[in-house]
Amino acid sequence: MKLTLTKRQLLSVATGAAVGGPAFRAAAQTLPAHEKALYDAAKAEGELTWYSGQYNAESSEAMGRAFNDRFPGVHCNVVRSTSQVAFQRLSQDTRAGVRQCDVFSSTNSGHFTQLKREGKLTQYTPVNAAGMLPSIQNVDPDGYFHTSFLGLFLMIHNTQLVSEANAPKSWADALDPKWRNQLAVGHPGFSGAIGVWAVQMRKMYGWDYFTKLERNKPLIGRSSQDPVTTLNSGERSVGLCVPVGTTALAMSRGNPLKLIYPTEGVLATISPSAIPSNAPHPNAAKLFMEFQASKAGSEAVRDYYNEPLRGDVAPAPGARPLSEITLLAPSIAEQETGVPEVREAWRDTFGI
């Protein structure tokens, strides 16, 4: 193991000298003034820790690497998990009186209104946020949290098991008894997006949607991404509320999957990030918030098939443009009160 560690260190030293050096100079020259000022302050802090439940593991790691490349000397520690788990870790930190998290990102916006009300967030509006799509700017009028993830969650099917013609077309189609033992879905106790989706479905169809869904015996995982694995293997043929990014990545590797854009619309989680008020590296945290809102940040996640946050970054090849999609999204208030309710109701309905 020692060998691999050394190799890796060697590699990073080598790339640091060969690529990082010039890149560093180039980056330093091209940085806008506000980023430059934050970068100088952040260098003294040296690192930041990012708790995130938004992008999938690969995209989050790529985001961290892109940040490290753009701002050498400030290292981003990526702690990726499901959103509920990320929030759970943050709560445990608070409870233990420990400061660890610099930037917190979750697919459940309710987390942020709650933290804001408890006075646990730093007020900071990234300058770069002005370049984001107008519809996702200013989610918090007071500037405590800002959109960092535009997640599209829809249905997918395994093309070897279900043809496109036979695949369900809408969220309601999934309740048809012919999909008994065919469906896969995540769990709102773990996944923030599943919680938001359950709130949206309840709003549209009532809780009845889930009592009917239970009759079809879906295979319940934890993350909203779990159906990707389940469908890859052919264990189930249709996935509900699955992120576009992870699916597209699995498709690009040759897995037999296809996206279904439900006729009612696609669940859009316009999810924010924020800086906890006790963040141990506040400048690095602000710099990272700027990065998330920047062109470079959007490009980093776009390369892993996620939606860019800015109009000046082209979407991933093959993705359907936002303008052609109906977006479904419960309000932040609905999320905050709704998610804990549906989580309990889910456990009563599905027994887990």
């Binding site: 981003c76 998990s81 233990a96 420990v98 293997s233 887990i352």
Partner: protein, 580 residues
């Protein structure tokens, strides 16, 4: 003899010795004793005591309340989880005994071929982390896509699956397949001590091989079977990874996944503590039952009169026994390992086995690009190594003091050192969280918290190991040195330590390996910078990418195998399987 001598040395120093010399002679041991008491209180008693107190506290104010118990047991679903855990524990322990006892008997008492292979199987099952085995079994026995079920349908044309891993039976079997080595180790070492004369006596009286085994050999090792059963039961109810990976899709909520829910926002440690308390009662009840069942009969198989041990000739039956061992090896090790390896080298796992689907990209990503993978490997190695060192040193000192009867009430130390054995790991972790995460110590998110929890959790293994090592060294050698003028600590260093070195190293390695795969204690205690391989594996298991997950599992196995290899080289081939 040793008792008398030991006491006379400590308790009644020769007359007319100056006070300073008297202190000089007694103090080191007494000081050590006090230090050890302190260490054990810190590691074992305080976290548990704190857990007990916290279960009666109101969140925020700390005022006395019983409401935590009401919350914890006020819902049918929560109680159901306890029932599920207990049933699961019994089922897994039973399966483990059924798998392991014939293997242990065959290896210990008979002329079955392929004993070396059987050792490898047991060792392999022991080092395969439970959640990794669980992922392997999802790939093997998923009702629709699992290799076994696909094959079954192809063979029989049947509509229904042969075996559904997402079921109570599936969960129990997968856990047992990972835990049976514990039973094997216990029962085999007990059978090793039963002399052939007892079986001969039965044979002379007209019993055949099977009757002798059923009526003589197995009843004699009944205590070992029960010990194995109990330890598998305890491991099962403490397990988190496998129930999360298989239990959630199977809609089976157990205590550990329920405890996890109490850690959701807002973190309700108090309710979690209250919820965990009855588990301790159940455990205590099991130990008491064991004592009761065993107290009625004698199980002495070892006498001072030599006793020959010769393998029983099984004839054609030896191939039946071999087939049994091979079957267990297939389902516990070979098959899950094969599918995991296949997934780890696959570009797209959904495309199955083919040459153009092969890639090293998953390994490359983890080794060179992943922010946490290498850090977590390094964390795992040094946390486990430090924890193993602490546990072995502490256990050695306690074992020495207890076995040489150097101080009054030494048994208390021994009891404390063994106590974590009966505490489910997850309860231990929550105790550590309640006691040391918050100020004044503020250990949450630090390496120290995890290391201490690992050391405490695996102290009993180290203690059992050290205790038997110390017992094997007759005190007369130390006494000879002391007569020649050596002090006690000097005698230990020059005589006892070299003699027990090898078996301590074995104990160290076992603690190291079990710590390196520990998940249920770690999952509640890790911070962003202290993630271990097992926690990262768990995180990867919900990232929709089994290819990378399997590759990381492969790395974990490589790390473990390196240490097992070192162990075999230094201590001998069977170091992990000798009962400590």
């Amino acid at each position: 003899m040793s008792t008398a001598l030991g006491k006379s040395v400590v308790a009644t120093p020769p007359r007319r010795v100056s006070l300073a010399r008297r202190i000089g002679r007694i103090e080191p041991v007494m000081l050590l004793w006090i230090l050890l008491i302190g260490a054990l209180l810190f590691l074992v008693a305080f976290p548990l005591g704190k857990l007990f107190l916290v279960s009666f506290e109101t969140r925020g104010t700390g005022a006395f309340t019983l409401s935590n118990y009401v919350t914890a047991y006020g819902r049918a679903r929560y109680i159901e989880a306890v029932v599920n855990s207990l049933t699961l524990g019994l089922a897994s322990a039973t399966i483990a005994v059924v798998l392991a006892v014939p293997m242990a008997w065959a290896v210990s008492r008979t002329d079955m071929p392929g004993k070396g292979l059987t050792w490898t199987v047991v060792l392999g099952a022991f080092i395969l982390p439970p959640y990794l085995g669980a992922v392997g079994w999802i790939l093997l026995a998923g009702p629709n896509s699992g290799f076994i079920n696909v094959f079954w349908r192809w063979l029989t044309g049947s509509e229904s699956p042969f075996f559904n891993v997402y079921s109570f039976e599936g969960l129990a079997l997968v856990i047992a397949l990972n835990a049976f080595p514990l039973v094997f180790i216990f029962v085999k070492s007990a059978l090793d001590l039963v002399s052939s004369e007892m079986e001969d006596a039965a044979n002379i009286l007209g019993a055949g091989t099977w009757t002798a085994m059923r009526k003589v050999s197995l009843p004699l090792v009944w205590p070992a079977i029960m010990a194995g059963f109990i330890i598998v039961f305890l491991e099962t109810i403490a397990l988190f990874g496998t129930p999360a990976i298989i239990g959630i899709p199977a809609r089976i909520n157990v205590v550990t996944t329920q405890l996890w829910q109490f850690f959701e926002y807002p973190v309700r440690v108090e309710v979690a503590a209250a919820y965990a308390m009855p588990l301790l009662l159940v455990t205590a009840g099991m130990i008491a039952t064991q004592k009761l069942l065993l107290s009625r009969k004698g199980y002495v198989s070892q006498t001072g009169k030599g006793g020959e041990r010769r393998p029983i000739k099984l004839g054609a039956w030896r191939w039946v026994m071999f087939a049994w061992c091979a079957m267990v090896g297939m389902i516990a090790v070979a098959m899950p390992l094969f599918v995991l390896l296949q997934a780890s080298f696959a570009k797209a796992w959904g495309r199955g086995l083919s040459l153009d689907n092969l890639t090293f990209a998953n390994y490359y990503l983890l080794i060179f690009e992943h922010d946490m993978a290498m850090t977590s490997i390094w964390n795992t190695i040094w946390f486990s190594a430090t924890a193993a060192t602490i546990a072995v040193l502490l256990a050695l000192m306690v074992a020495y003091i207890v076995n040489r009867r150097l101080v009054p009430f030494g048994e208390v130390l021994g009891f404390l050192a063994l106590a974590p054995f009966v505490i489910p790991g997850i309860v231990m972790a929550i105790g550590f969280y309640a006691a040391y995460a918050a100020p004044p110590l503020s250990l949450y998110g630090t390496a120290a918290l995890i290391i201490l929890a690992f050391a405490a959790r695996f102290l009993p293994i180290a203690y059992a190991n050290s205790s038997s090592a110390i017992r094997a060294v007759h005190p007369e050698m130390e006494e000879a040195a002391r007569i020649l003028g050596s002090g006690r600590l000097h005698a230990i260093r020059m005589i006892t330590a070299p003699l027990v070195k090898k078996s301590l190293l074995g104990g160290w390695l076992i603690v190291f390996i079990v710590a390196s795969r520990e998940l249920s204690a770690a999952i509640f205690l890790v911070g962003p910078r202290t993630r271990t391989m097992s926690v990262l594996l768990y995180d990867l298991s919900e990232a929709g990418n089994f290819e990378v997950l399997a590759a990381f599992g492969g790395l974990l196995l490589v790390v473990t195998l390196i240490f097992v290899g070192i162990g075999m080289k230094l201590v001998g081939r069977d170091f992990m399987l000798r009962r400590g």
